[in-house]
Amino acid sequence: MTASLIETRRVSKNFGALRATRDVNFSLASGARHALIGPNGAGKTTFINLLTGVLAPSTGEVLFKGRDITHMAQAERVKLGIARTFQINRLFRGLSVLENIYIAISERVGAAPNMFKPAGKRRDIIDESMQLLETLKLADDAHHRISELPYGRQRLVELAIALGLKPEVLLLDEPAAGVPSAESHIILDAIDALPKTIGVLIIDHDMDLVFRFAQRITVLVRGAIFAEGSPKEIGANEDVRAVYLGQASHG
């Protein structure tokens, strides 16, 4: 087994009496394509929030390349190379698509604290932003404000911002939710085209996407790991079918 990039050890998160995450031992190796599935309210997003530092765990540890980052702030973890997308778009709505990407990349390359060189003179950042937008078929929308874009296109910007950070660990919280099926392949293609070395964890309810993408699947039920294995194993697991897959087919 390859060295793990990000890892949790017996991580739990309680909100009062609600145990949103229970004793989760999880490891994402470099190059992994891992999916996290589970019924609504299973604590999938909470788990991502624990990995990214939005929430601090009640007990347990989070490690990045063996280093304890349990109490590290979110922004510092991003600097280490942990990026995410949000289940509900969190974009700079009043700014143009290009500016959205520019902000992310200028943080990554350390240009953002610069007060006196015009942003427009960093052609390198602008070019990299445009290049990224081009790969996501967003270049023609680059001058539009986010608030002028349809929701599906906004989802792509959400992904583009995370990609602009050139992460080593990428956490995708339902990246294709709300994207019209005609466009969802752009998101899938972009995920497929990611560098093989980065570890990707994806949450999604779309089982076609999950089974196409993942080499490994973790099933979370009521905050605890219910099952973990290859897509084949998970697909054949009767218990998983009962709690989740079966349920989904009724929906």
Binding site: Y102, A104, P113, M130
Partner: protein, 337 residues
């Protein structure tokens, strides 16, 4: 300027690459200010007050319009600057104007830094109330420390040395004051303009638009906000120092809610987060105030109130925002600039 050919000659890339360039129309406010000097020699006192107010409004625009820091206490810094200049001059310590302004900026910036570190942990209504409290504390402090500040009466009749040793600040013919204020405003404006078009300024707009996302792209959000608040406070302090020098007195009004609310109204009126809103708002507000108070000495504020209601209902982005909307209606969206 011969920049290397951009890899992506896309209209959006061009707009971003060129937005910091100085446009021809940007000379208009400065030409008007010079024209005013010759056209209204009898109203240069009013003109000076206007220029100082523009500078103050620009400082607020940086914090409120760009970084989205909601504050109702910006006069705290204006007053800190004004009292710095006032106390130094009144007590015979220092009365050279330019260095006096620098001192005003440093003191106000320090107040901004100290209060920002504490206050900027909060947002929204809490932040609004805390900025108000900071200002009230300073005002009461200035009121109580009468030995140094003159208390309720302020510090009248302070002597300011001639500018560059040559230009006397004559209270009756405030020509030197007007040009001095114009020069300081120009320097302050060029500084803020560079700042808002820099990557730092871009990151401030990011914080304004979505703080949570800024954390998620790895930005040290609070650090940026504190730095921005400090710079904004220092500029407000320079404006306050300028006010004290050109009026040759300081009183508690420099620290009051009245001044803080007025500058906020000016910015909303002109349009915040757009650099020139401060100019348009200050001119509109002060000219209207001047005119209304002459024709309705008792109820002039009613007119301003009505105008504000109209702006709030129909032009949320202020006069400049309204102008933008009209231009977009008249001229269908250009594909590039």
């Amino acid at each position: 300027m011969s920049a290397p050919a951009p890899a992506y000659d896309h209209s959006a890339a061009r707009v971003l690459a060129n937005r910091h360039r100085v446009r021809l129309w940007e000379a208009i406010p400065w030409l008007l200010a010079i024209a005013y000097y010759f056209a209204f020699p009898r109203y240069l006192g009013f003109g000076t007050e206007l220029l100082v107010t523009v500078l103050f409004a620009i400082s607020l625009d940086l914090a409120l319009g760009y970084a989205g820091i909601v504050t109702l206490g910006h006069a705290a810094f204006f007053g800190a600057g004004a009292y710095t200049v006032g106390m130094l001059a009144f007590h015979g310590i220092w009365n050279e104007p330019v260095t006096g302004l620098i001192a005003a900026g440093i003191v106000a910036g320090a107040v901004g830094l100290a209060s920002g570190i504490v206050l900027l942990r909060t947002t929204g209504l809490t932040l609004l109330m805390l900025t108000l409290c900071t200002m009230a504390l300073l005002e009461e402090g200035a009121n109580l420390a009468a030995e140094f500040t003159g208390g309720f009466d302020g510090l009248p009749g302070m002597v300011i040395r001639p500018l560059f040793g040559m230009f006397e600040f004559n209270p009756l013919i405030p020509r030197a004051q007007y040009l001095y204020a114009l020069g300081v405003l120009l320097v302050g404006f060029v500084f803020v303009r560079a700042l808002v078009y820099s990557p730092f300024g871009q990151s401030l707009t990011g914080i304004r638009e979505n703080t949570l996302r800024m954390h998620a792209v790895g930005a040290p959000v609070r650090h940026r906000l504190v730095v921005c608040y400090m710079i904004s406070a220092a500029l407000a302090g320079v404006a306050g120092g300028l006010w004290a020098q050109t009026n040759a007195y300081v009183n508690l009004s420099t620290l009051g809610l009245d001044r803080a609310a007025t500058v906020l109204i000016i910015l909303v009126l002109g349009g915040y987060g757009r650099l020139y809103g401060a100019f348009v708002g200050a001119v509109a507000y002060m000219v209207l105030e001047h005119w209304l108070s002459q024709i309705y000495p008792t109820a002039w504020q009613l007119g301003l109130g009505l105008l504000l209601v109209i702006i709030a209902l129909f032009a949320r982005n202020g006069i400049l925002g309204l102008f933008d909307t009209i231009m977009r209606r008249v001229k269908p969206k250009p594909a590039s600039q």
